[in-house]
């Protein structure tokens, strides 16, 4: 596969992913609005409450000792505050991933036009690192409050933290690359 084909594939994939994320945001918002209008529709929709990857700690409780957890952890019984917090959290996660893909696409486009070592790409990698840091923070804590039950969980998202480090390291590598390019350009 040539460099140009690879870049074209990466750019196309980024565009497809961006579209999927926009659709996900719209879909998620539609469910959020519909859930407030008709809660009974979501009666059988049960939560699979788990924390993220990496090291995690979680705690769940219910007021009715005889009830099963999957009976109390249903979407229609989710408290309004918890619903809003969950919606905003997932919306934030989706937007952050969308922004990461956008920055990645910008980098690929600059490589395609052979402007690889530019200040823009350093900024893009830094922004990706910041967005991923936001993603790591948002996904590290999970909290749901139901009418007669609750769930709390905290985890260390190792994958996201590793990606944050990778993004910042890439920014430093590209910064070094700019200096080398400048030196090369000014060598006659």
């Amino acid at each position: 596969m040539t460099k140009s084909t690879l870049l074209n594939v990466a750019i196309t994939l980024s565009r497809v992913c961006k579209t999927i994320f926009i659709l996900l945001i719209i879909g998620f918002t539609a469910i959020f609005i519909h859930l407030q209008l008709d809660r009974s529709f979501y009666n059988p929709k049960k939560f699979n409450l788990k924390t993220g990857d990496g090291y995690s700690y979680s705690m769940k409780w219910k007021s009715d000792k005889n009830a099963e957890f999957n009976e109390v952890f249903t979407l229609d019984k989710l408290k309004t505050v918890s619903l809003y917090v969950t919606y905003l959290k997932f919306l934030g996660v989706l937007i952050l991933i969308y922004l990461c893909i956008w920055e990645f696409q910008k980098i690929m486009q600059s490589v395609k036009v052979t402007k690889t070592f530019g200040e823009n790409n350093v900024q893009s990698f830094r922004r990706i690192g910041q967005f991923l840091m936001g993603y790591a923070i948002l996904t590290s804590y999970t909290s749901f409050r139901f009418e007669n039950a609750g769930f709390k969980g905290i985890s260390i998202p190792f994958t996201a933290i590793f990606l944050v480090l990778c993004a910042f390291i890439m920014a430093e590598i590209f910064k070094e690359g700019i200096l080398l390019k400048e030196e090369y350009d000014l060598t006659v």
Partner: protein, 60 residues
């Protein structure tokens, strides 16, 4: 200065030593960070001079 002595234009020299006029301009203005030995050799050959004739140390 050496160019003027030899009555040679920048364009002509750039063609002889095989670099672009833009690069020659970088050299003349002192913006260059490094000069290849091959370039220096070509300039000296074209102007029939020694490196010391075209290089000068100026304190920043």
């Amino acid at each position: 200065m050496m160019l003027a002595k030899r009555d040679m234009k920048s364009k002509e020299l750039a063609e002889i030593i095989g670099i672009t006029e833009a690069n020659l301009s970088i050299l003349k203005s002192g913006k260059a960070k490094a000069v290849r030995f091959s370039t220096l050799e070509a300039i000296c050959k074209a102007l029939n001079c020694q490196p010391a004739d075209i290089l000068e140390y100026v304190e920043d």
